[in-house]
């Protein structure tokens, strides 16, 4: 019997008061507020209102204390507003882009006194408003921090300022008088300006024995001399690719870099556009050693070694005149027979061109053109071209004279032979022997560095001037901004030094007033920027076959060739390197290789297999080669000169040829963008019979075990994947023969989607969706774009135009290597092979411009947690940068992978201030310099770190167009607004407009091409607003049509 106490807690055991109290209340519910007894709620220690006060105060205090200080930029208004400037409203000035003889009539857009964008001049009969990547990028050259900012004496490679122009004139004048009778030589690249030529003549007449030497880094002297022999005219004719039904190009990259690519691209595209009701395509044969952009667009392509160029030309001549074709490989022979047949059948609508600098080859080409009746049909001697005037041998003579000390003064304008002459060492040596050397170049480039004086020229956007690209066709240059620096046009210097008191602007005006007749006419001419004759009758010229015999005899003996040969070529963006310091051009991927910031050795798939045992037909090998940016290197030895370069496998390169781009490896002094950008291969060029040949016929190639990282924008090259599946929903292309046999093939694939997913209504757009179809009713404007893959040649003008218009940051090589490039618009390039075929035997190369598709059922829009990207009522997929928090979910979910993320503070727009030194590349840092930032378009937000951006269909232009229409109380007119890519395109491959307008170009483009029209990845039902037109290449090759339409599941 025990009476033990049972307890649960000490309180209970001790019977404490507190415990008793608790026990009493244990099962009583206490109402809120009751515990405060008789006192009211407000009398408690912290009443509710106080609590709210404290809460409010502390929140405000915390947020004030925590708020970041954002850098403040002050803008100062005009005190007296200039009459011509309304802040926020751009002015447009017609002017002319000129560089090394390239001439393009352009319109400069000037916002608040700053030129910010170059557009083509639609009135130009030569280009039809098209532009090139280089012209688009040229505006950035003006804001280049490496530009020389004052007249200077060069001391040990540095520019020491001479305080005034007068002092400079005196220094040079003194030096000139000290020369005695030694002649003065003016060394320039091709001058197309009539007034400058006149001026040079006047200047030279003041200095007896003096002369003007035209030196083109990549000249056409072979052609000019051949024309002199064939036609007695030391000039270049006009070409009309639009008139040609059969085009044979012997190595000429006429769409990318040869002579006048924008003009030719626009002509060529006319023969390549397809009217589905009346299909007619020009036929283009390309014989070349490496895969050029033009070759990529050709219908049929044949490769040969560079040393065989002469034989190929000769063989084609023989085929055309019906003689036996010999001396070339069987494959090339087949091609020549085919090409000759096409040329003859074209009835004069045929054109043969060659990029060779060998006069003999050009003589044979002239003979072929004569034989097929091209003169007067596709080649016009009535209008001559002035793009290139340099004769290589003249330069060699000059070097010899300089070496011999027979040149007293050398004035250099727009030429850089120390960098780009094959015998640059000799030129350097010779330069040192000239007493007075004055450079008018704008930067401290390789040649300027070795001169004694420099008086930097204006940028063309700061200059007065004129150009005559073709005889009778003039284009004017007028300044768009007051010169940024203490620079002077070199024409002014010539005037001054020849004792004239006029400045060049007056000189120019007087000259043209006389030509056009009066101030009013001159004003009008300046306003449109152009002057051209009416219809000029075609002239065939007087062909004289006199020198053909010696030419054929010379060509039948092939030059001595080694095992490997090197072909040197110009890249579409970089060209001969004179604009290489432009970061936009450096970052623009090469159309073929998709590489940026470097040159490299392009080798064929077969050569890669032989040298490195990389077999790109084996998926394992392609993966390890493709995914790794570190590419194996080769050592190339040409005539004792050694060069180590990384390789890039470019299918379709001749097996024994290595292609290397010119224009790289320049001195860093001429711009930060040149730092470590490739190697200079001008020294590898061969000088033969006084002409420069951009090839080396005897090279040694050794594989090395080292690697080098190449920054590529696209690493995978086929739309056929390793499982043999053709991603036909992405790219649609076929041969003409196939298309004619089965015209419905592309349409059928689209119809199949309707059968599968919209059986009831036949409306795939609405029935294929779970959402209410009424959501797809979009009245008013509905923007759309149509891109013709048959017209697009991949030139990249649109890419640079997009960069300029939309303030797209340049990220530099280090960031491109990491897949961080920011381009809103890219051109995808796919190689097409026959299934299981030799990878070097390309059936086609497709260029596909890819930007935001502005899907009406956009997968990016619904995944953004904060609704930073959404759809406008006009069909635009919009980005709200302010709202974006940077989850990158939208970029992941974009099937087209067009969204770009700001991985770092590329634009200096971040609230963290400037902390990116060493994080972003030097080039990007330089792009954020106050000077370079002047190129930014004020209508487009500069994006900060951590936000997504992408193509906006140039929404700022759309808004401007709509506002203008609204002010005039009218609907927007079709074609009134153009996107930057559309207006830059030389081939009009891009059509843009309101798809709800039944009369608009875009609607017509879609309705008139039902057989070729398609949307990329239509089966996933994202409803893009950008459509493509399938590419049809003009070959008679028939492929087995894939069984049934696309098998792809509905997304």
């Amino acid at each position: 019997m025990s009476k033990s106490t049972i307890w649960q807690s000490f309180g209970q055991r001790n019977q404490s008061e507190a415990f008793e109290e608790l026990g009493q209340d244990e099962f009583r519910d206490i109402n809120p507020g009751e515990e405060s007894g008789e006192e009211g709620l407000l009398d408690s220690k912290t009443p509710r209102r106080d609590f709210l006060k404290y809460l409010g105060f502390s929140t405000v205090a915390a947020s004030l204390a925590a708020s970041c200080e954002i850098p403040v930029n002050r803008s100062i208004p005009y005190v007296n507003k200039p009459a011509s400037i309304t802040p926020g409203i751009p002015n447009y000035f017609a002017t002319t882009y000129t560089q090394d003889g390239d001439v393009l009539s352009v319109i400069a857009k000037v916002r608040d006194g700053r030129p910010i964008k170059i557009e083509g001049n639609d009135m130009s009969p030569i280009t039809g408003g098209g532009t090139s990547a280089r012209a688009q990028a040229s505006v950035l050259d003006m804001y280049d921090t490496a530009r020389l900012r004052f007249p200077a004496r060069i001391v040990e490679g540095r520019a020491e300022e001479i305080p005034t122009f007068d002092a400079f004139d005196k220094a040079v004048g003194d030096a000139m008088t000290g020369l005695g009778t030694a002649p003065v030589v003016i060394l320039t690249s091709t001058i197309t300006s009539p007034t400058t030529k006149k001026l040079v003549g006047e200047f030279l007449s003041k200095y007896p024995g003096s002369r003007h030497v035209t030196y083109d880094a990549v000249s056409h002297s072979g052609m000019i001399l051949a024309n002199e022999a064939s036609f007695g005219n030391k000039a270049l004719p006009s070409y009309h690719f639009d008139n040609a039904k059969a085009i044979v190009s012997l190595g000429a990259d006429f769409l990318g870099t040869w002579l006048s690519p924008v003009e030719f691209a626009s002509q060529y595209a006319k023969g390549r556009k397809i009217d589905e009701n009346k299909i007619g395509l020009s036929k283009h044969f390309q014989f070349e050693s490496i895969l050029s952009m033009t070759g990529a667009n050709a219908d049929e392509r044949f490769v040969h070694k560079p040393s065989e160029t002469g034989k190929v030309a000769l063989a084609l001549y023989n085929a055309v005149i019906g003689a036996a074709v010999t001396g070339v490989s069987d494959k090339v022979k087949d091609g020549i027979v085919k090409a000759a047949k096409a040329l003859k059948e074209a009835g004069g609508a045929a054109l043969v061109i060659s990029s060779s600098n060998d006069t003999n080859v050009q003589l044979v080409v002239n003979a072929i053109n004569n034989a097929v009746g091209a003169y007067g049909k596709t080649i016009n001697w009535g209008v001559t071209s002035n793009y290139r005037q340099g004769i290589d041998s003249e330069m060699l003579t000059l070097v010899a004279e300089m070496k011999a000390g027979r040149v007293g003064a050398l004035l250099i304008a727009g030429a850089n032979p120390v960098y780009d002459h094959p015998a640059a060492d000799q030129f350097k040596e010779a330069l040192a022997k000239v007493k007075l050397t004055v450079s008018f170049n704008t930067k401290l480039d390789e040649t300027t560095e070795l001169c004694k004086f420099v008086l930097p020229d204006h940028h063309y956007l700061e200059s007065w001037g004129d150009a005559e690209p073709k005889s009778g066709y003039q284009s004017f240059i007028q300044p768009t901004i007051h010169p940024l620096f203490k620079t002077r046009q070199w024409q002014d210097s010539l005037l001054k030094w020849s004792g004239s008191d006029k400045d060049y602007a007056i000189y120019l005006k007087e000259y043209w007033m006389e030509q056009v007749g009066g101030q009013d006419n001159w004003d009008a001419a300046l306003r449109v920027g152009l002057r051209y004759p009416g219809e000029v009758p075609m002239s065939a010229g007087n062909f004289n076959a006199g020198s053909l015999g010696t030419a054929t005899a010379a060509l039948s003996v092939a030059p001595k060739a080694g095992e490997w040969e090197v072909a040197l070529y110009q890249k579409v963006a970089i060209g001969n390197g004179s604009q290489a310091s432009n970061p936009w051009l450096q970052e623009m991927p090469d159309p073929i290789s998709k590489a940026t910031w470097d040159n490299y050795a392009m080798i064929s798939a077969a050569a890669a297999k032989e040298l490195f045992e990389i077999d790109i037909t084996k998926t394992g090998d392609t993966d390890s080669y493709d995914v790794n940016p570190a590419k194996p290197m080769v050592k190339i030895t040409v005539g004792g000169k050694e060069l180590e370069l990384p390789i890039l496998i470019i299918p379709g390169t001749d097996k024994r040829t290595i292609g290397i781009a010119l224009g790289y490896g320049r001195s860093e002094k001429a711009g930060i963008a040149l730092k470590e950008a490739g190697k200079n291969v001008f020294p590898l060029a061969t000088i033969l019979n006084g002409a420069t040949h951009f090839a080396a016929f005897d090279a040694k190639v050794e594989p090395l075990s080292t690697t080098y990282k190449l920054a590529l924008n696209q690493v995978y090259n086929y739309y056929t994947d390793s499982l043999g599946v053709r991603r036909t929903e992405v790219v649609k292309e076929t041969s003409l023969a196939n298309f004619m046999q089965n015209k419905e093939q592309f349409k059928h694939e689209r119809d199949h989607l309707v059968e599968e997913y919209a059986k009831r209504s036949g409306d795939y757009r609405n029935e294929g969706s779970l959402y209410d179809p009424r959501l797809n009713d979009r009245p008013g404007i509905h923007w759309g774009m149509s891109i013709d893959l048959n017209s697009c040649n991949g030139c990249g003008a649109c890419v640079v135009a997009c960069n300029a218009e939309n303030n797209i940051p340049v990220v530099g090589k280090t960031e491109v290597l990491r897949g961080h490039e920011m381009h809103w618009l890219r051109i995808d390039r796919y190689y097409v092979n026959k299934p299981g075929g030799d990878p070097d035997d390309l059936s086609d190369v497709v260029f596909m411009p890819m930007m935001c598709q502005h899907c009406d059922s956009a997968p990016c829009e619904n995944v953004c947690p904060v609704a930073a990207t959404n759809h406008s009522s006009e069909g635009l997929n919009q980005m709200t940068y302010n709202r974006c928090i940077g989850t990158r979910y939208c970029a992941n979910n974009c099937p087209y992978k067009v969204r770009r993320f700001n991985w770092a503070d590329y634009t200096g727009a971040d609230s963290f201030g400037n902390n990116q030194e060493g994080i972003i590349s030097d080039v990007t840092m330089n792009m954020n310099d106050d000077l370079v930032r002047m190129v930014l378009n004020p209508d487009v937000t500069v994006r900060s770190r951590g936000v997504i951006e992408k193509c906006s269909f140039c929404v700022q232009r759309l808004q401007e167009g709509k506002l203008n229409a609204k002010k005039q109380s009218r609907p927007i007119i079709d074609g009134e607004v153009k996107t930057a890519c559309q207006s830059a395109c030389p081939t009009h491959a891009i059509v843009f407009g309101n798809a709800n307008d039944k009369e608009s170009m875009i609607t017509k483009s879609r309705e008139h091409n039902p057989l070729r029209m398609y949307y990329a990845l239509e089966q996933i039902h994202v409803l893009p607003n950008v459509n493509y037109m399938a590419k049809i290449r003009n070959t008679d090759e028939l492929e087995v049509v894939a069984e049934g339409p696309g098998e792809a599941e509905h997304g």
């Binding site: 995914v627 940016p629 995978y716 992941n892």
Partner: protein
Amino acid sequence: MSVLKYESAVRAPLVDGSKSYHQVTEDIIRPIETTPTRLWKIGFGIAVVLLLFGVYSVYREVTYGIGQWNLNKTIGWGWDITNFVWWVGIGHAGTLISAILLLFRQGWRTGVNRAAEAMTIFAVMCAGQFPIFHMGRVWMAFFVLPYPNSRGPLWVNFSSPLLWDVFAISTYFTVSLLFWYSGLLPDLATVRDRALLKWRKRMYGVLSFGWTGSTKHWQRHESLSLVLAGLSTPLVLSVHTIVSFDFATSVIPGWHTTIFPPYFVAGAIFSGFAMVQTLMIIVRKVLNLQDYITLEHIEVMNKVIVLTGSIVGVAYLTELFMAWYSQNPYEGYAFFYSRANVLSPYGWSYWGMMACNVLSPQIFWFKKLRRNITVTFFMSVIVNVGMWFERFVIIVTSLYRDYLPSSWSTYYSPTIWEIGFYLGTFGLFFTCFFLFAKWFPVIAVAEIKHILKKSGENWKKDQDNLEQKDVKEFEDVMAH
């Protein structure tokens, strides 16, 4: 034979040894009251170092940009979201053990539920770092909250799975925290009552919310536990379902898969149990709690691992089958080329996943191996490595080669700061766990006492004693 003498023939005792209530309290609460051991100090030190490295990694990423990581235009998510899903998955076991097993009245859960719940909370905390700091502008992270604002009708996007994540994870975290803390109250009161130092008494007094052990408290406590268990149970299933929606609702081949919700949940339980195993095996050893966390526990959890591992395996095979059966070339490419092909750039991760998640857990069909502590520990790590691979496979191998071959990515490998962030979350996790083990009872003392009567040597001894007693004495003893 007495009718009272009862010991289950099928169930092993839940607590080994002969323990009195007092002894249970002593065993479990003692480590809290003594100076931490050397082992604890070393472990804690390492954890803090990792945490600081993680903080620095995140600092770099926030100040210099996401470019501090090696993600690119094609692979927008890499280690960040992989780690997020991995940690969320781990955070599943705790609530499953405490909530679902509570509802199913699984007595064995009491030995491990406290630590498992703590693990859940810490894992979810770690997981939460990734979606927050993977943002390009983390200082604007509050935009994901639907708060009333002065920006007109601007609202969050309720159709975004990422927003669902915000709600799912914050709800899950809140409920788990409440559940865990409400379970802690009686034990904290015990610590308070045993405390000798004034500040300890005060601190645990505050932390235990004035728990007195009154009947009313117990009544409310039990009701709350049941309510929270009821709330948590659907959450266990919903959180990972919603996380899987991040992928399943997208258009990317390899993500766009209807199987994801069940597959993710199974995977989460799989990895969660593996993590519980890893921790429990360490804890029972370090804190000498072998009697409370017994081989039985380990075996039971191994059974769950082999079951969920096999479910995951079936899911993997189903995916492959569907990729073939659908004849969708894009999906086919993602599964057969990018993943199942061991020679493809990321083939290793797929086969690593298969080996770790599907093949290796099959050893737990053998009882001997299920009860082997070394094997279990090793396997628990392997499973979590495998589950990391799984998330990496899903995220990266789907993204790096999707629709347009032109955009296929170059090789992705993380930077030191990306790895640092991951290590930092380990630091955070273990720092929290060490602090938890130091300041809180790692086993639910009160709950263990519930089951003590029904198991253990003590119980048997009591029964024997009882038989010797007369009716009067029996009444006295059994009345209370």
